[in-house]
Amino acid sequence: MTAISFRAHSGNYYCVTEAEFQAVFNEHKDAVYRFVWRMTSSATVAEDIAQDVFITLLRAPGRFDPVRGTMRSFLLGIARNLALKRWRDEHRWEELDDETFRPDPVDPKRGDVAEIVGAAVRALPPLQREVLILAEYDELTLEEIAHAVESEIGTVKSRLHRARENLRRMLASLGPAKTEKGERSSHGTIR
C-alpha cells in the first residue's frame, strides 16, 4: 500500500495510507469543489482544479504543516492559488484587488434571488471574492483565511470589509423586506 507522509507537530514525518488519503479526499472534496465553483462559476474548471488540489497533496504531502493551519485551509489555499493562476491567465490586464471597484445595484427583476446573489459575488474582484467565500460559505476564521490566502489578518479584514460593502451596494435593491418577499414567492414560506 502506498504510504503518504504528513508532517507531524514535532517536525518529523509520519505516514498515512491510501485509505487515510481517501478519507481526507472524501472529507474535503465538496468544500474544495464548491469553493472553486464559486470562484470560477464553472463546473468543469472546478472539477479540474479540485482534482489538481488533491494530486498536489498526494505528490507533496510534506507541504502540509498542521502547526500552521488545518487540512481544510491548506487545501483551500492550494485551490485558491490554482484558481487565481487561471484567472490571471484569462484576465491578464485586470486588477486582482480593485480598491476603486464601485458596483451598481443589481436589477431585482433579473431573476431568482439566489442567481442575483451569485452574480453579485462573482462580480467582486477576485481577492475580495475569495475572502468572502472563505468566510461566509466555508466558515473559516480570519486566521485560517489569512493562512489560506497567504496574507496578514489585517489585510484579510480589510478585503472582507470592502467585499461586504460592495455586496450591500449591489444587493440593496433586494433589501431585507424584499428578500423575504422573494423567498415567499419561490418557496411559499418565510424562513
Partner: protein
Amino acid sequence: MEPFDEKELSSLLQRWKAPAAPASLNVSTVGLRPSRWQWLWTGSIRVPVPVGMIVVFVAAVFWIAFGGSHPQPGAPPVAVPNNAATPVVEPPVSAPPEVAVSRQPASPALAGFRPVSQLEPKIIKEQR
C-alpha cells in the same frame, strides 16, 4: 431601500447554493505514483548548478583528451584504404639510398598531367 446588517447579509448570501462535487471527481491513488521502471523513462532528478558545471567541465576535458582527433569540419573527405582498420606501419628494412620516395601528395603533381595524343613505344634491346 434598507441597508443590510451583517446577519441579514449573511443569510442572504446563504441563498446562493453551490453543488456538491460530482461523482466523476475521484482521485484514484492507484497509478499516480509512477513505478520504478516508469520512472526510468519519465522521471527527473534535480542537479545543483555547481555539480552540473563540474560534470560538464570533466566531460569536456575527457573529450578533448581522448576524443579530439576527429577531422575538422569542412575538410575534404580523405579516401581511406580498406585496410585502414589495422593501421600498422612498418618502416622499410633497407631502403635503397638512391631511391627517393616523394612524400608529397599526388594531387599537385598530377595537376598538369595530360594523356599523350599518340603513343609511340620504343623497344630497346638489351645489350649483352
